[in-house]
């Protein structure tokens, strides 16, 4: 069978309600007819630049209408959009361009990706909030390119615990799974909803929550460039009156800390949290404050969906929910044998939207994508009475503020300071949320004062994104190690 993902998501909306708002952006309303027309224009522009079926299109755009135009325009011509983080370094963009083999980069003028180099890159399209210059001159219609069921329709990049990010390719049908299996049947989203997400479109969670899901059910999505503060979010809610909000636990924590009598959230009927485990304290405080339950779920870039999710009026504090129909779940021990209810084990997920292999990474594929279509997510979970409970990760990766942090990246940066001989970082709970704690061994001529601790934090802040900066730095004389010299992080995680 051949299909086109953009048609799967947009065509029925075009037929049913072409004048309905698809995207709200500041004072602009983009209706479904306009979204389709500008996506076709973008597709035609890409074709004019010689972009062909299967070629990769690197999208480095903030959440503005230009993003869905570029995204759906790529899909319409059978090309493969590769949305990536807008805040990376030139070296990181060079890697992504080369690894994905992108022939086009789409970005705002003056962006860091413009300094990146890659051998296959042929075209650069500079965009403002509504697309590149000349877009309006392109034809507002095109014949969509039908692709095969096993073609790569989308590539997202996922952080690795070591080394470079991994490309996660998805087949065309996966792009409709968020709406078809989860958003509609489980969360009850429909074309009457208006959706707002604090997570950006270049993250898989943001892409699902703020684009694939609302387009898939014919709803309206709110676009906001930049990283919104809790006050920006309250202002967006007051202005656009969304009915559904998607956030990460850190965002909800901040919104609780910023909530006051001026907050107008009465338009909202559903709140969802993903990206990291939702602490019970945030679940209960949110409900006490707003009177509305906060649903938690487990999502994954490799699944392009939330295969485990709470349901409205059935949520339970501390539980990440129940299996979403359409997915199979197993919990296994270290030897791969299924564990009984109440036992903790490794989460395996199987379903049609699950990625079958990383992009050009057979080594990582072999470790993660198991026989018979099972994906090893790296999550450690427990099942009780059909509900799932998250117990952390089986690898060293940390999830801070909904974003992956490989510990070695922070450790390498700390070791770059002249006072540091060795170190290890782990995630520990603070305020119910995971934060980074660093354990540092100093040179013999350095003294572990609080001033040096702050200097080390500033050292990291100057070189890495702020979510990677340790919350606390403790000076130690040795690190717990195995007989083979590997740091025993569990021992560092345990002490408070």
């Amino acid at each position: 069978m051949s299909r086109n993902s953009a048609c799967d998501l947009l065509r029925s909306n075009l037929d049913r309600h072409p004048g309905k708002a698809a995207c709200l952006f500041e004072n602009v309303v983009v209706d479904y007819a306009g979204l389709w027309a500008d996506s076709c224009r973008f597709g035609n522009l890409l074709r004019q630049h010689g972009v062909k079926r299967g070629e990769r299109v690197l999208i480095v755009l903030p959440d503005t209408p230009a993003f869905p135009f570029a995204f759906f325009g790529s899909l319409l011509i059978g090309a493969c959009p590769v949305p990536v983080n807008t805040s990376l370094t030139v070296a990181e963009y060079s890697f992504l361009l080369e690894d994905s083999g992108a022939v086009v980069r789409i970005c705002p003028s003056g962006h860091a990706v413009l300094a990146a180099e890659a051998p296959g890159l042929r075209v650069t399209l500079l965009c403002d909030a509504f697309g590149p210059p000349g877009l309006s001159g392109m034809a507002p219609a095109l014949e969509p390119c039908m692709v095969g069921d096993d073609d790569v329709a989308l590539i997202l990049y996922s952080s690795g615990s070591t080394g470079q990010p991994k490309g996660v390719p998805h087949r065309p049908a996966a792009l409709s799974a968020g709406a078809g299996l989860w958003g509609g049947p489980v969360l009850g989203l429909s074309d009457t909803d208006v959706v707002l997400s604090s997570s950006k479109l270049f993250f898989s969670y943001g892409l699902i929550a703020n684009l694939l899901l609302p387009m898939g059910v014919g709803a309206t999505t709110i676009l906001h460039p930049g990283r919104p503060t809790p006050h920006d979010l309250f202002a967006l809610i007051a202005r656009h009156r969304p009915t559904v909000f998607f956030g990460v636990p850190t965002t909800y924590g901040q919104m609780i800390q910023s909530y006051d009598a001026t907050a107008r959230i009465d338009s909202l009927r559903l709140f969802f949290s993903c990206g990291e485990a939702l602490p019970e304290i945030i679940y209960s405080e949110w409900r006490a404050l707003t009177g509305i339950e906060l649903l938690d779920g487990i999502g994954s870039t490799e699944v392009l969906n939330s295969p485990i999710s709470n349901r409205p009026r059935r949520s339970l504090a501390g539980s990440c929910g129940e299996v979403v129909p359409g997915y199979d779940i197993r919990i296994v021990d270290d030897d791969g044998a299924d564990v009984s209810d109440g036992a903790v084990g490794h989460l395996l997920v199987r379903g049609d939207s699950v990625c079958r292999g990383y992009w050009n990474r057979q080594d990582a594929t072999a470790k993660t994508m198991l026989a018979d279509g099972w994906l090893r997510t790296g999550d450690v979970v427990e099942r009780r009475d059909g509900r799932y409970f998250h117990h952390g990760r089986s690898d060293d990766m940390m999830k801070i503020g909904g974003m992956w942090v490989p510990p070695n990246r922070v450790e390498e940066t700390l070791r770059g300071h002249r006072a540091v001989v060795d170190c290890a970082v782990v995630a520990r709970s603070s305020g119910g949320l995971d934060r980074i704690y660093a354990f540092v061994i100093l040179r013999t001529d350095s003294v572990g004062t609080s001033a040096l601790g702050q200097e080390l934090r500033r050292h990291v802040l100057g070189r890495l994104p702020n979510y990677m900066c340790p919350l606390k730095i403790e000076f130690v004389t040795e690190l717990p190690r195995t007989t083979t010299g590997k740091v025993q992080r569990f021992k560092l995680r345990g002490g408070q």
Partner: protein
């Protein structure tokens, strides 16, 4: 134990929070409304715990919104922490 706005502002700067943000703070206005981000607030809370040798529970963290809130919390808990010794 007496703690002043200036004590806490100095601690914020030690915790790596932007000096201009700290200087301009209104003690009665939520810190998240005055330039603190999602990592500044926990960093400051951790610095307060460390400096005053107190523990801020998960529930208390969510209620500490302003510099005045921190002042009240530290004054109350640091006193009891010292009194228990």
């Amino acid at each position: 134990m007496s703690v002043t706005v200036q004590n806490l502002k100095s601690l914020m700067i030690e915790a790596g929070i932007d000096v201009d943000v700290v200087k301009a703070l209104d003690p009665a206005v939520p810190l998240l409304k005055q330039g603190f981000d999602s990592f500044d607030l926990p960093a400051f809370s951790a610095a307060v715990e460390s400096r005053y040798d107190i523990t801020i529970s998960d529930r208390d963290v969510l209620g500490l919104r302003t510099l005045d809130d921190f002042m009240t919390f530290v004054s109350k808990h640091a006193v009891s922490a010292f009194a228990e010794r």
